[in-house]
């Protein structure tokens, strides 16, 4: 009898094992639906209707959510749904048939792969992003240059080489002839921001837009190398081949490229295309 009771408990535990494990998978992806503004007084029929699904690199969260509000205000019959994740995650989702109208990548390489696979067409660059060193408020370790990041008293975290910000950071170090030893190679740029925000790391290399987004808790140090065009992130945007709502998708790309779009991107710390 006790054997049986314990067997049942053990089996329950097996079930929970599976439940616990599934919490880790999709952590990087967040789907945010901007709340629709309730102005339904348009009399002229707006051709832009329905749902617009935008898959965008994580670093675009702030300006895109802002633009999403502008878009929905301008086209009251549209609901914009975002899915923000690492560019390569998004490319994989598109490949697996995830519904998407617009894809915004944080690097040309990922976009080129999606275009080559016939899943998106005619990408246009809408923004650029400079690298910046992110440090705690007040810069207590006195980080001024990339060389400071190699100091043994500075706990440094970088993006992993598998993601664009990691590739750019590695290139910046190579160019500066600095050999730094990161304590951790994070899976995406926002994880680097979190590690510095939480005080676990003294410094990291992120984009200037990330510093801007977290400016309440951190500050940025502009390093000379970040101004080098070869070390800038490039953000191409394209309609997907399988786009279900091409009209809205085209309108979205137009908005991002408009003066208002550029202003929103600039306010979030991005450079123009």
């Amino acid at each position: 009898m006790p054997r049986r009771a314990c067997a049942i408990v053990a089996l329950t535990v097996c079930c929970a094992l599976a439940a616990g494990a599934c919490g880790s998978g999709n952590a990087a992806t967040t789907t945010t639906a901007a709340t629709a503004t309730t102005t339904t007084t348009t009399t002229v029929a707006d051709p832009v209707t329905g749902e617009l699904v935008v898959l965008a690199a994580s670093s675009l969260v702030e300006p895109f959510e802002e633009l999403g509000r502008m878009f929905e205000a301008g086209h009251p019959d549209v609901k914009v749904t975002f899915s923000f994740a690492g560019s390569s995650d998004l490319a994989r989702q598109i490949d697996a048939g995830a519904p998407a109208d617009v894809f915004a990548s944080a690097d040309e390489k990922t976009m080129a792969a999606v275009v080559a696979a016939g899943q998106a067409a005619e990408p246009v660059v809408v923004a650029r992003n400079r690298l910046a060193v992110i440090v705690e408020k007040g810069n207590p370790k006195g980080v001024r240059t990339l060389a400071d990041l190699a100091r043994s008293d500075v706990v440094l975290v970088l993006c992993a080489a598998e993601v664009p910000c990691g590739r750019l950071a590695a290139a910046a170090f190579r160019k500066a002839g600095v050999a730094a030893e990161p304590a951790s190679l994070e899976a995406n740029v926002k994880a680097v921001v979190s590690k510095v925000t939480l005080g676990e790391a003294d410094a990291g290399i992120v984009y200037r837009s990330d510093v801007q987004a977290a400016r309440d808790k951190v500050e940025g140090v502009d390093v000379v190398e970040g101004a080098d065009a070869a070390l800038q992130a490039v953000y191409p945007v394209a309609l997907t081949t399988a786009a279900a709502n091409r009209v809205a998708a085209k309108a979205w790309v137009d908005l991002v490229r408009s003066a208002g779009g550029l202003r929103a991107l600039a306010a979030a710390g991005f450079l123009g295309p």
């Binding site: 929970a16 919490g23 706990v155 005080g199």
Partner: protein, 263 residues
């Protein structure tokens, strides 16, 4: 044979669907795995480092889970204390908490600026984030409940009369535990330890959040699989996933045959 209850289609159809639903993704993983390149994928230096590190971290996590979890299980099963129900509920939390949240919670508690972590840093210069010890701690946080749950049930269901008899014969508390309770409960305790180890081996979210990703220090197999997927190396990712799958299936098969009996 003739006494076997007939299976009505109303049960059989969803039952087969459920079995297929659970088995199909695993079968697809095995089907699509790059068998030809398997050996080279698994002996690649980065993969070897991750495999070795996973073994080290999961074993340390199991040691932590058993060393601290067994006494907790004993207390929960045998010692009435105020707030026991609450503690029992808390033990379950890591099972249902998203591991990433567990990792953040660990940072807030044991990180360099954490509630306790700041003193570990100030007094002992001990920093857990970005270290192998930190990876083991993250895995133990997620794995320990499996050990505690199983062990508590075993301690509770062990027949107390044997212990009472031993005590009337003059045995002390430790002797009773070692000579009577342990022999009665060890299969369940071993099962709990094995489950905890298997869970620790597959831990991802808490580890990458709390311990970061440092090759050779905290990049265990699940983290390596994630990074390989990030860089589009599906084949190598599948090869490492196969290792985890093989371990899980073996552990669960062993548990069912040996200790769970014919359910």
């Amino acid at each position: 044979m003739s006494r076997r209850p007939a299976l009505s289609p109303a049960v059989a159809v969803p039952a087969v669907a459920a079995g297929a639903f659970l088995a199909l993704p695993l079968a697809a993983l095995v089907w699509r795995a790059p068998w030809a390149a398997l050996w080279s994928d698994l002996t690649d230096p980065a993969a070897r480092t991750a495999l070795r590190l996973s073994l080290v971290c999961s074993l340390w996590a199991t040691v932590l889970a058993v060393g601290l979890g067994l006494p907790l299980a004993w207390a929960l099963a045998r010692v009435p204390f105020p707030g026991r129900r609450l503690v029992r509920a808390l033990v379950l939390v890591p099972l249902v908490l998203p591991p990433v949240v567990g990792g953040v919670a660990l940072l807030l508690a044991l990180g360099r600026r954490g509630v306790v972590g700041r003193y570990l840093d100030q007094w002992f210069s001990l920093r857990l984030p970005f270290t192998t010890a930190g990876a083991a701690v993250a895995e133990a946080f997620v794995a320990m409940p499996f050990l505690v749950l199983t062990a508590e049930a075993a301690f509770r269901s062990a027949d107390r009369r044997y212990e009472d008899a031993a005590r009337t014969l003059g045995a002390g508390g430790w002797t009773v535990f070692r000579r009577v309770t342990l022999p009665l409960t060890w299969p369940a305790l071993a099962a709990g330890g094995l489950l905890a180890w298997a869970r620790a081996l597959g831990e991802f979210g808490a580890t990458i959040t709390f311990a970061g990703n440092a090759p050779g220090r905290t990049t265990t197999i699940p983290l390596q699989v994630f990074l390989l997927l990030e860089s589009g190396r599906l084949g190598s990712a599948l090869a490492l996933s196969l290792v985890l799958l093989a371990v899980s299936v073996t552990v669960l098969a062993v548990l069912r045959d040996r200790w769970l009996g014919a359910l």
